[in-house]
């Protein structure tokens, strides 16, 4: 462990256990004797929206605070975030940043597709979780994979950390045992790389700007035009997407009426269609459809 903190930034979506994964990683290092710091970043978004957590590790107290701006490594629990600029997964990621990505895609293809500048390690941890635990929630195997790949702690320390942190999250009994087993598989599958040696970054000069004096109405935190939220896509929130089988659809309009987002519209002939940009994939429509005319498809993972 070094005096300059190693910095690991985790990315995922609300509900995937990003915070839990960060806790397992930092607890493992803590049990291995390191000084650690972990912090999630809470935003306004909810389940399904991008979530960030930071873990710093060192051999002495860590003065830095807040979200990591230039990570030594990133752990990406949901590869679809790489294609979403607003998720800022690649912020501060350079040639000497290691990217660990949960995806069935192979590393070189991922690297080309998203122009990842540094080394990429890919592992299909969701499938592993689905297979061993029975849920696609990748937090435990992802944390284990990262602990091994970054040489953060031994299996013994990791196992203890899993029991503590998953236990605190209310996971017990058989479910805990399966998670530990899944983590062990991931741990054994990971290549041992250690944190990359990073070149010191030059300090960019500060370019100060005088705060302008705007007319007060323009200087207020008001939104003066309607419906600006439409500019944002929530397509990336979806794990599954609904599709309407118009052969089976009876045009009853129930899906339209019950979509919380108002993302299902009716054409002039009452045929429903789904606004794929603003559908969050909650699947209320599919659940409620009386004729089961709405099928759910796993979002494409190339």
């Amino acid at each position: 462990m070094s005096a300059v903190p190693h910095a690991l930034r985790l990315h995922g979506r609300g509900g995937q256990g990003v915070k839990l994964a960060s806790h397992v990683v930092s607890r493992s290092a803590f049990l291995a004797g390191a000084w650690v710091q972990d912090s999630p970043l809470y935003g306004a978004e909810r389940r399904g929206a991008p979530v960030v957590a930071s873990v710093r590790l060192a051999d002495r107290p860590i003065p830095e605070r807040g979200t990591i701006e230039a990570p030594d490594a990133i752990l990406v629990l949901d590869a679809s975030l790489l294609g979403q600029p607003e998720a800022a997964v690649l912020e501060g990621v350079g040639e000497d940043t290691l990217a660990i990505v949960n995806t069935p895609e192979d590393a070189s293809s991922l690297q080309r597709r998203f122009e990842l500048p540094g080394r990429v390690v890919a592992a299909d941890l969701s499938s592993l979780a689905l297979e061993v635990v029975g849920s696609a929630r990748p937090s435990a195997p992802a944390a284990a994979f990262a602990v091994r790949a970054l040489s953060i702690a031994s299996w013994e320390a990791l196992e203890q950390a899993l029991r503590i942190e998953l236990g605190d999250a209310g996971i017990a009994g058989e479910l805990l045992a399966r998670n530990v087993e899944c983590a062990r598989c991931a741990f054994e599958r990971a290549p041992v790389l250690g944190f990359p040696t990073r070149r010191p970054r030059p300090v960019a000069p500060s370019l100060p700007c005088v705060i302008p004096r705007l007319p007060a109405r323009e200087a207020a935190p008001s939104i003066l035009v309607p419906a600006t939220s439409e500019l944002r896509s929530t397509a990336g929130w979806r794990v599954f997407r609904p599709e309407i089988d118009l052969q089976r659809c009876t045009r009853c309009a129930l899906c339209f009426a019950l979509c919380p987002e108002g993302a299902i519209h009716l054409s002039a002939d009452a045929t429903p269609w789904i606004d794929a940009v603003h559908c969050k994939g909650c699947l209320v429509c599919a659940h409620e459809c009386p004729t089961e005319a709405i099928v759910t498809l796993r979002e494409a993972t190339p």
Binding site: I211, A216, P221, S222, L224
Partner: protein, 414 residues
């Protein structure tokens, strides 16, 4: 124009009447209540075309005030003391909305212990919330300041709420002659509120007061409030110039008395500065070159004006009618920071007037002597809490009655 005898509270109500306010959300509290009672009478007589609604708390009152202002109404409201503190969350909120309204605060000490008489712990607790603060010393100034405050608040470069402060009892319930401007002259100075900045319409929806997440964006809007306050300082100078032309009375950011030749300056605020003025005149008659500076606009703090008037003096004493527990006088800290740097005079801090405490005989002589010593010894950050032997003896008797045994023994031993 007519002249009449008005209390400070009645003067505040007359200010709102002449401002032809649209809306008065209200909640009673001593010593402010007379203001809303008077306005209710004006409305009942048909002299003021406004709606007065008694809310369920000052917190609700300020919410209603801010919301009505956001919808385009000219809004006046008033409170005191506990009420101001109860509303404090909304003071920050409505200031952040950037809406114009005028709030009169009638100063009263804060519980515990519960009291009715004035000091400025209430109004200075609202010092940092984004309201412009004008502290008035006379009933005339109260009326005039309410008119000026509405103009300032609605200025498109400002759009910050304005608080006008007056002391409970010494001003609120004290009658003195007041010139009441002619309604047409008042309307010429303060026309009905223009609606171009109003929000919320059928064809112009606005989301106001929304969450701003992220430190940079949040900072931007807070910085903009600072810019708005700075604009208020400049606009105030222009407005009081126009006010003087129309009504013949001039109000500065500060009120400077006998400063031309003053080696020593006492800084005060609000109505007790009148007592200070009488004492300064007495001391000058005895040959002391002492002057008085009354702070009138306290937010934004007129730092340039303070530096212009106070740098180079031999010593400056700040008399605070408030107490930041664990530090001392709040205005002392403000003045000291405004004067930081080369040429700063020796500074002394005095605290008096809490809960309406009166200055005791000889205390101004003592404070002047303290300033003269400061010139030799240098200033001090430690507050001098004004207290006299006679008060201590009376207090011990009260403590004895209340069964404070230790005090009784101390008394007996003495």
């Amino acid at each position: 124009m007519t002249r009449d005898l008005l209390t400070g509270n009645a003067a505040a109500a007359w200010g709102a009447r002449l401002a032809e306010v649209d809306y008065v959300p209200a909640y009673p509290i001593t010593p402010q209540t007379e203001i809303i009672e008077t306005l209710a009478q004006f409305i009942g007589q048909g002299a003021l075309d406004a709606r007065l609604v008694t809310l369920d708390s000052e917190h609700s009152m300020l919410t209603a005030a801010g919301a009505a202002a956001a919808a385009g109404a000219r809004v006046f409201t008033a409170t005191s003391s506990q009420g101001l503190l109860y509303a404090l969350e909304m003071l920050y909120t409505v200031a952040g909305w950037r809406v114009p309204l005028v709030l009169v605060n009638v100063s009263r000490g804060i519980a515990a212990p519960l009291t009715l008489e004035p000091d400025h712990d209430d109004v200075l607790a609202a010092r940092d919330c984004g309201f412009v603060q004008i502290h008035a010393a006379t009933a005339q100034e109260v009326l005039d300041s309410v008119l000026i405050a509405h103009r300032l608040s609605e200025d498109p470069a400002v759009l910050l709420p304005v608080l006008v402060n007056l002391d409970g009892f010494h001003l609120s319930f004290t009658r003195e002659p007041v010139e009441i401007p002619d309604p047409n002259a008042a309307r010429a100075f303060l026309p009905p509120r223009a609606l171009q900045e109003a929000s919320f319409g059928v064809s112009h929806g606005v989301a106001q007061g929304v969450a701003v997440l992220g430190g940079s964006a949040y900072s931007f809007f807070r910085y903009q409030m600072q810019r708005g306050a700075e604009a208020a300082l400049e606009r105030h100078e222009a407005l009081v110039g126009e006010f003087e032309q129309r009504f013949g009375r001039r109000y500065g950011l500060v009120d400077a008395r006998y400063l031309d030749d003053a080696d020593y300056v006492l800084v005060m605020s609000n109505s007790l500065s009148g007592v200070g003025l009488a004492e300064v005149e007495r001391l000058r008659a005895a040959g002391a070159r002492v002057g008085l500076l009354r702070l009138r606009v306290i937010r934004p703090l007129p730092q340039r004006e303070l530096r212009r008037l106070l740098l180079g003096r031999r010593a400056v004493g700040v008399i605070d009618q408030n107490l930041s527990v664990g530090k001392g006088g709040i205005l002392f800290t403000e003045v000291a920071s405004a004067l930081a740097g080369p040429g700063a005079p020796a500074l002394r801090s005095f605290v008096s007037g809490l809960g309406g405490r009166r200055f005791q005989s000889g205390e101004f002589d003592r404070m002047l002597a303290s300033l003269q010593r400061a010139e030799q010894e240098g200033g001090s950050p430690e507050p001098e809490l004004l207290w006299t032997d006679a008060e201590e003896r009376r207090m011990r008797e009260l403590l004895r009655v209340a069964g404070h045994v230790a005090s009784q023994e101390r008394n007996d031993a003495a």
